[in-house]
């Protein structure tokens, strides 16, 4: 087939990219080779628009065992163990087919973890959907949640937490980001690397079908009506197969027979052969007819590009093949030798012995063009950063605002979601879903790991750099709330079309923000994922960087939750409240606006908080801890009262003044000033807590006392909220459920 502009366009390759391919090969590629270049040089696999910026992120630290570049990152957690973790998106597939798109997303990130030699022990999901009342959203929400449940529950890895945020900008482009964490021996981290000429290359797991061909290029293109035609790219997840694969892989790794292994995810066999070869500076010679196939008549092109799920590639020490085959046979799985490692740096593909493709591995894996795409600050930014009295419409009674915020899907209880997830399997979950920052214990040690995924797209939209910094700060703060010291981060960068200078600017700003915050907190980035082209009909989502941070809890027995556990405790507010109503949930829900500047971030204060919290909690001085995020102080206080059973509170806070005309109570209670935490402290420990906060340089004040069945909030002595905890709790507990009650698909 001649390579016409039309063929190139269908492969998502630009003219100059094709010229580069011609230069590398010194000849015209055949179709199989062109297909391999097209998937490997797609944005999804090559990071061609993002790579030069990602290089600026801090990736070093004393605990880092594996930074970016492998299937997942790893940090040392003591006791000879490593935490292996990463986040991955499956946004586009989840819009096309919510259940399978989300399910296969879960399958993919789990494979990234166990290919590193780690046993996966926890999942978190970070979700963004359109407004619940709008047509179509319910289908996506119910499908995505069921898909995550369907895969995670079946494979037996608990989904211990996550977040869900609703905004119109995600209506045509939901975000499904899944984080997975596993535990490996610190000296047993395995790499996706091929080495040693003559060593065997094994294909293991599910057989190959025509599904998902061009999935990687799909993830790198905007949606439009024509994308409907790409629909056959939907893949069906097989969690049972992956469970067997997981057990078999971990068993094989113990034998020492493996040199390296890699998941065949995006770009399938093309990706696994070229990346493993490139990392080890070797080549591979593989025979496609040996690849187990579940459809007849597949061409080498299809076999090399298929994205069938639940498959991996192994490089096995010559002479140790029997160990691999024996274990895979025990688990009733395929393990087929399809070729061997060579020393010429080429990925050579044969069909019945005849070479059908021959490409330098590094050309595919490392030599994609890198773009320093033009970036330009959007002209509209000045306008939306403005917030003045005219943007505030009416001012309902403060108590009514609180009720309305508690019913906002973004703030309301996520029980409808997490009760569909098995969040307890593996018996490690110390802080059950809904009770605070997710924490899993590390069996065989006294330690535990706290994890959080966070990001607020409205902050990103109004100031991408600050939004990104706030995402880092919130995730780090959340792990600190469980007594964890932040030790490593991963990130998922969800943005629009990078070929538009305004989007590129947002991206560059956000990466700079993540870098600055991570450096300030000394939290290294050990990996991540970039999802671009999140646009529908030319309209981009808000810039949504999602940060996943892991915190190390030294003593698992000290972990606390967010709800007030009993009466008579002092409520301490750490951090300062300023009148910061820009980009808040309040501004959107009550006044219908997404504008203004997001809350300011003080890196020094955040860092001090991240050190202070684990110190106080580890010493047993604190009974509960919760941060103020979406909805501000009033929402955070209300959430603290929603224990089992609920415990009320009486609080009086000093008012702050906002834009002219905005009631002081609104400015004070619904501001989303960052760096604030609510603690419940027994009177016996109060002095110690206040002293340690002062030493740490963290502003702390007693704002009230727990107890009773009522939440009473006064501002400057003036009561503004007096409500039965049970009534507020009912509103908060039922909002999401009511909106989603009847499933849309049987």
């Amino acid at each position: 087939m001649p390579i016409t502009p039309d063929v190139l366009a269908r492969h998502g390759l630009k003219e100059d990219e094709y010229a580069r391919i011609l230069g590398i090969l010194g000849r015209e590629p055949n179709m199989t080779e062109l297909g391999m270049f097209s998937v490997m040089w797609s944005e999804h696999c090559s990071y061609k628009s993002s790579r030069i910026h990602l290089k600026t992120l801090p990736t070093q630290g004393p605990r880092v065992l594996q930074g970016p570049g492998e299937n997942a990152g790893a940090v040392d957690i003591g006791d000879g163990l490593a935490a292996v973790f990463k986040i991955e998106s499956h946004n586009h597939p989840s819009f096309i087919e919510p259940y399978q798109g989300a399910a296969t997303g879960v399958g993919g990130i789990i494979r990234d973890i166990f290919t590193m030699g780690a046993r996966p022990i926890a999942l978190l999901d970070s979700l963004r959907f359109g407004e619940l009342g709008k047509p179509g959203t319910k289908r996506v929400v119910t499908g995505v949640v069921a898909g995550i449940a369907g895969y995670g529950n079946s494979i037996g890895i608990p989904t211990v937490g996550g977040e869900a945020f609703f905004d119109a900008c995600y209506a045509g482009n939901p975000l499904v980001n899944v984080f997975c964490l596993g535990i490996a021996p610190a000296d047993g981290i395995v790499k996706g690397k091929a080495e040693g000429t003559g060593n065997a290359v094994y294909y293991v797991g599910a057989s190959t079908g025509r599904d998902g061909i061009h999935g990687a290029t799909m993830a790198s293109a905007e949606f439009d009506d024509a994308s409907a035609e790409k629909r056959p790219a939907v893949q069906v997840g097989d969690p049972f197969m992956e469970k067997l694969l997981l057990e078999a892989c971990l068993e094989v790794l113990k034998t020492g027979a493996l040199i390296g292994l890699q998941d065949m995810g995006a770009a399938g066999l093309s990706c696994a052969t070229s990346e493993m070869s490139a990392r080890g500076h070797v080549g591979m010679d593989v025979e496609v007819t040996k690849v187990p196939q579940r459809e007849t008549g597949m061409t080498p092109y299809e076999i090399m590009l298929s994205e069938s799920q639940e498959r991996m590639l192994f490089v096995v020490h010559a002479g140790r093949e029997a160990d691999v085959e024996r274990i895979f046979e025990k688990w009733d799985l395929h393990a087929v030798c399809i070729g061997h490692v060579t020393d010429d740096g080429l990925v050579r593909v044969r069909e019945h012995g005849v070479v059908v493709a021959e490409v330098p591995a590094r050309a595919l894996a490392d030599e994609a063009p890198l773009y320093d795409r033009p970036s330009q600050r959007p002209a509209w930014l000045d306008e939306i950063q403005k917030l003045d009295p005219t943007h505030f419409k009416t001012f309902p009674a403060t108590a009514d605002v609180l009720t309305s915020l508690l019913a906002s899907p973004t703030i309301a209880s996520k029980q409808w979601i997490y009760r569909q997830y098995d969040h307890m399997v593996r018996t490690n979950t110390l802080c059950l879903a809904g009770r605070g920052t997710p924490v899993v214990r590390v069996k065989g040690t006294n330690r535990a790991l706290a994890m959080s995924v966070d990001g607020n797209g409205r902050y990103g939209q109004t100031d991408p750099k600050r939004g990104a910094m706030l995402a880092v700060a919130e995730a780090a703060r959340n792990v600190a709330l469980a007594g964890g010291i932040p030790i490593g981060a991963t990130n998922n960068l969800n943005f629009g079309n990078p070929e538009k200078p305004e989007i590129m600017w947002q991206f560059v700003e956000a990466v700079a923000g993540i870098g600055e915050a991570c450096r300030a907190f000394a939290v290294p980035i050990t990996g991540g994922n970039v999802s671009l082209y999140n646009e529908t009909d030319g309209k981009a989502i808000y810039p949504t960087p999602v940060l996943g941070i892991v915190g190390l809890v030294e003593d698992a027995s000290t972990v606390i939750g967010q709800a007030f556990p009993s009466d008579g405790l002092k409520i301490v507010l750490l951090g300062e409240t300023r009148a910061e109503l820009g980009a808040t949930e309040y501004l959107h829900r009550v006044h219908g606006e997404v504008r203004g500047m997001p809350p300011a971030i003080e890196l020094g204060h955040e860092r001090a908080l991240q050190a202070l919290l684990p110190q106080l909690i580890g010493a047993g001085l604190v009974a509960s801890a919760h941060d103020c995020s979406e909805g501000g102080l009033a929402v955070a206080l209300a959430e603290c009262t929603f224990g089992q059973p609920g415990v009320g509170a009486t609080v009086d806070v000093r008012g702050v003044t906002g834009p002219a005309g905005v009631p002081v109570a609104h400015a004070t209670l619904f501001s989303e000033s960052a760096g604030r935490v609510l603690l419940a402290v027994s009177p016996d420990h109060l002095t110690a807590v206040l002293d340690q906060a002062a030493t740490a340089g963290v502003v702390a004040g007693v704002i009230g006392t727990t107890g009773g069945a009522t939440l009473r909030i006064a501002v400057d002595g003036e009561p503004v909220v007096v409500a039965a905890v049970s009534e507020l709790q009912t509103v908060w507990a039922n909002a999401l459920e009511d909106a989603l009650a009847s499933p849309v698909r049987g």
Binding site: N153, S154, K243, W331, M424, V425, L432, K443
Partner: protein, 226 residues
């Protein structure tokens, strides 16, 4: 007292059951492979929760044909204690070792939560250390946990006092609201069980009410009543 935990392809609570028996209870425990044909001298057999064969087709449908199930049936026929947890319960029903079947939850969705179950019978190996009417706080995690049996079978189970657990309120009342999944007569376990006691053996995990099941069988067997 030797416990055996059977591993079927897709079992995912096998390690949890093993951990509860071995590390919390401090008893010898071993895994049995689904292709094993002998129980290797086990005194108690646990069929763990999870998704054997992905729960494709029906929960427990394929696992019940595993070679090890013949040995389990023979062991049960001689009065050997077999605890089927969640998927294990489903496997025992599919195998005909227990009456009835578990069908899709009334809510259709998967449910993971702590629920309360009332102990109905204490003269079984797994509830001997309980008191009648005692309420246990145990996790459930299932999509197909709704117990079904034909009316005559149900009547016989009730008459023979084979219903050992029912979903209840915290105060022990049997109400429709307390029924976690729509099970007939709120049944949570017939002589063998539905929730996940192995996940409720340590206070740090939210409840240690499940321990009593394992202690019961220990007590029963060490007293030689098995």
């Amino acid at each position: 007292m030797k416990f055996a935990v059977v591993v079927f392809p897709g079992s995912n609570c096998d390690h949890d059951a093993y951990h509860a028996v071995k590390h919390v209870l401090g008893q010898p425990a071993e895994f049995l492979w689904h292709k094993d044909t002998s129980l290797q001298g086990a005194d108690v057999v646990i069929l763990p929760g999870g998704f054997s064969y992905g729960d494709y087709l029906r929960t427990g449908a394929i696992a019940r044909f595993s070679p090890v199930m013949q040995a389990v049936s023979a062991f049960a026929a001689q009065g050997g204690p077999v605890l089927g947890i969640c998927n294990g319960f489903q496997i025992l029903c599919e195998a005909g070792l227990l009456d009835g079947a578990l069908i899709r939850n009334q809510q259709v969705q998967f449910r993971c939560a702590h629920v309360d179950v009332r102990v109905e019978q204490v003269d079984t190996p797994f509830t001997a250390a309980c008191t009648t009417g005692q309420v246990l706080h145990l996790p459930i995690a299932h999509g197909e946990g709704q117990y079904f049996a034909e009316p005559d079978v149900l009547a016989r189970l009730e008459a023979n006092r084979q219903v050992i657990f029912r979903y209840a309120t915290a105060a022990g009342e049997i109400t429709p609201e307390a029924n976690a999944n729509g099970s007939l007569n709120n049944i949570a376990g017939v002589c063998n069980a539905g929730p996940h006691p192995e996940r409720a053996c340590e206070k740090v995990l939210g409840s240690d009410d499940g321990l009593v099941l394992f202690e019961s069988v220990l007590r029963r067997l060490t007293a030689g009543v098995a």
